[in-house]
């Protein structure tokens, strides 16, 4: 029974495949947003978890991806092509920005990454001609029935999430992942031992922008209306971090587990308390940081059984 722990993930895979056929539109909507956050949290984990760089740039990637995808579709580019082009644009953007801001460390990096989303929001707000400015952008709605749409976007988000997790697993076992962990422990020593810190950090930052960009583009088509305040909402940067911390930052399974638990709590518990929704979120953040900073998967009580999920570096 050494492989008994595989039952959980196997059941999850079966459920993910069966869901479009057994779930109603409400369940599909929740599952789609859950998968979106799996992609965001896993992506943040490349730079924030493995490399230990406190990046708050997820919202920037997500929002830029949403706008790139939305505008392309508005101009008549087919939907899937628009998503992919948005991914390429944002990754190129992230590589360029990353080269500049990854020279900073600690608080300075955190602020620089946080500000990117604000600058982009203001710029997009100002470019009224192309983006609709503060009025928002209407993305063309497809002429198929609602259930097919729900299934389509579920499948798209599932693909993005799976790719993000697979990238995470590959990165975890690769030379780059090992280098990123060295950077997390002590960047100066890593550099002196011959780790290409600058290159690895840029790769991790660029990788961490791909899936949020794709998720943003899919999101834009899914909700068919975006505005700057919503697309670049700072919560798109914060929630993935909370989720990764909740599950365990720097592990492959942590962000997935964290995203699942967080979204389930949001849906079941505090969505019912709208006026104190953000306050409760804040309370959970505070409790998490004070009592569970290492994440659930690394917690003492769970450790023996969950250990196989925490893939170690070679």
């Amino acid at each position: 029974m050494k492989r008994a722990w595989l039952i959980g993930p196997a059941a999850a895979v079966v459920l993910l495949i069966a869901l479009p056929f057994i779930g109603n539109n409400y369940i599909l909507r929740i599952a789609t947003s859950m998968l979106m956050y799996v992609a965001l949290a896993s992506s943040w984990n490349y730079i924030g978890g493995f490399a230990g760089y406190p990046s708050f740039a997820t919202a920037a990637f997500f929002g830029l991806g949403a706008y790139a995808g939305g505008i392309l579709q508005f101009k008549g580019v087919p939907m899937v092509a628009a998503w992919l082009i948005a991914g390429v644009i944002v990754t190129a953007f992230a590589s360029a920005v990353g080269r500049a801001i990854l020279r900073l460390r600690g608080h300075y990096f955190a602020i620089a990454s946080l500000v990117i989303a604000d600058v982009l929001r203001e710029v997009i707000n100002g470019m009224t001609g192309v983006t609709g400015g503060g009025m928002g952008l209407n993305v063309p709605v497809m002429k198929i029935d609602v259930t097919t749409q729900a299934r389509l976007f579920y499948a798209a988000m599932l693909a993005v999430a799976v790719l993000a997790v697979v990238t995470s697993a590959l990165l975890d076992r690769s030379r780059i992942g090992f280098g990123l962990r060295c950077i997390e422990q002590n960047e100066d020593v890593a550099l002196r031992l011959g780790v290409h810190t600058a290159r690895y950090k840029t790769i991790a930052f660029a990788l961490s922008s791909i899936y949020p960009a794709l998720a943003g583009a899919v999101y834009a088509s899914w909700v068919s209306y975006i505005d700057p305040a919503e697309a670049f909402d700072v919560l798109f940067s914060i929630k993935p971090i909370i989720m990764a911390l909740l599950g365990g930052a720097g592990t492959v399974a942590g962000p997935i587990v964290g995203a699942f638990i967080f979204q389930a709590m949001e849906e079941l518990v505090w969505r019912n308390f709208l006026s104190v929704h953000l306050g409760l979120l804040g309370l959970i953040v505070v409790l998490l940081i004070l009592f569970l900073p290492q994440g659930l998967l690394r917690h003492r009580l769970l450790r023996p059984r969950m250990r196989p999920l925490l893939v170690k570096a070679p």
Partner: protein, 288 residues
């Protein structure tokens, strides 16, 4: 002559900006924490002044020390009770913690005060002073003078008093300070309290000039960031220079590009500065 007026406006605004940023800079420098709560503490100070004015009829300019004191108590309690537990943890942990606390405070303020914009309207208005061709609104002038007095008082406090020296000592080397008999945890709490005091005082001054709402707290947090990076972290003269520079830049930016772009200018400037001169114009300490 238009340029002279814009320059004057910028300097008037910049004095207040220094007061907004000085507490943030102190907490960042001494505690090595980015205090996301700072914007909300400013707004809380502004609300305290607003209610003192509307309910009790106290002029916001006289309410400044009281608003500061209230916020000091809140800040001291927060640091002693909550934030001290994660001191020395990574940036991610401390930043996320203050973000969580900020969500709670912001939500509480929206529930208590609603999200409407409010403003203290002095009756009769204080009027204007004309010097040559430049026009100085009295309320802004008084706010700037008071703000700069507070910043200068903090400078003197850090230089000359026993507690001030202890704060500076903890900033230089917390372990050595502990060995010299400084109660580091208490100094952290006092420092955070002073940071909150300055935020409350700035908020009180601001309530006369700008409409306030819990939703505007992010704007002031952003300005505090920019000023700290502009002037350099951990020096009070640096904050004053940074604050006045930002005030002037925003005024001219609004003149040439339109008021919508003033935030963008500040943030772009921040990114550029972070890339090329992260220690700021007058900063002494390097990265992190």
């Amino acid at each position: 002559m238009l340029y002279l007026q814009v320059l004057v406006n910028g300097v008037l605004l910049g004095g207040l900006y220094s007061c907004i940023a000085v507490g943030f800079s102190l907490v960042w420098g001494v505690l090595n924490i980015i205090n996301i709560l700072h914007g909300s503490l400013i707004i809380l100070g502004a609300y305290a002044a607003y209610f003192a004015f509307t309910l009790l009829g106290i002029n916001p300019f006289f309410f400044v020390p009281l608003a500061g004191l209230l916020l000091f108590l809140l800040g001291y309690g927060l640091q002693a009770g909550v934030i001290n537990r994660v001191m020395g943890a990574s940036v991610l942990i401390t930043l996320t913690l203050t973000f969580g606390l900020n969500l709670i405070l912001e939500n509480a303020m929206i529930l208590a005060f609603k999200a409407d914009y409010r403003k203290v309207v002095l009756d009769p208005p204080l009027g204007l002073i004309e010097i040559g061709t430049a026009i100085l609104p009295r309320d802004r002038l008084y706010a700037m003078v008071l703000a700069l007095i507070l910043v200068a008082a903090l400078y003197v406090l850090l230089r000359t008093t026993r507690i001030g020296r202890a704060i500076v000592a903890v900033r230089m080397d917390r372990d050595a300070a502990a060995l010299m008999g400084v109660n580091v945890e208490r100094i952290y709490a006092v420092t955070f309290g002073i940071g909150a005091f300055m935020a409350g005082a700035a908020g009180s001054l601001m309530s006369v000039m700008f409409p306030i709402s819990p939703l505007t707290s992010v704007t002031f947090l952003g300005k505090a960031f920019v000023i700290c990076v502009l002037g350099g972290l951990g020096s009070i003269p640096g904050v004053m220079v940074g604050g006045i520079m930002l005030g002037i830049l925003e005024s001219f930016g609004a003149l040439w590009l339109g008021p919508d772009y003033s935030t963008t200018i500040a943030f772009v400037l921040l990114l550029v500065l972070l890339m090329f001169r992260p220690t700021g114009i007058m900063g002494k300490r390097g990265f992190d």
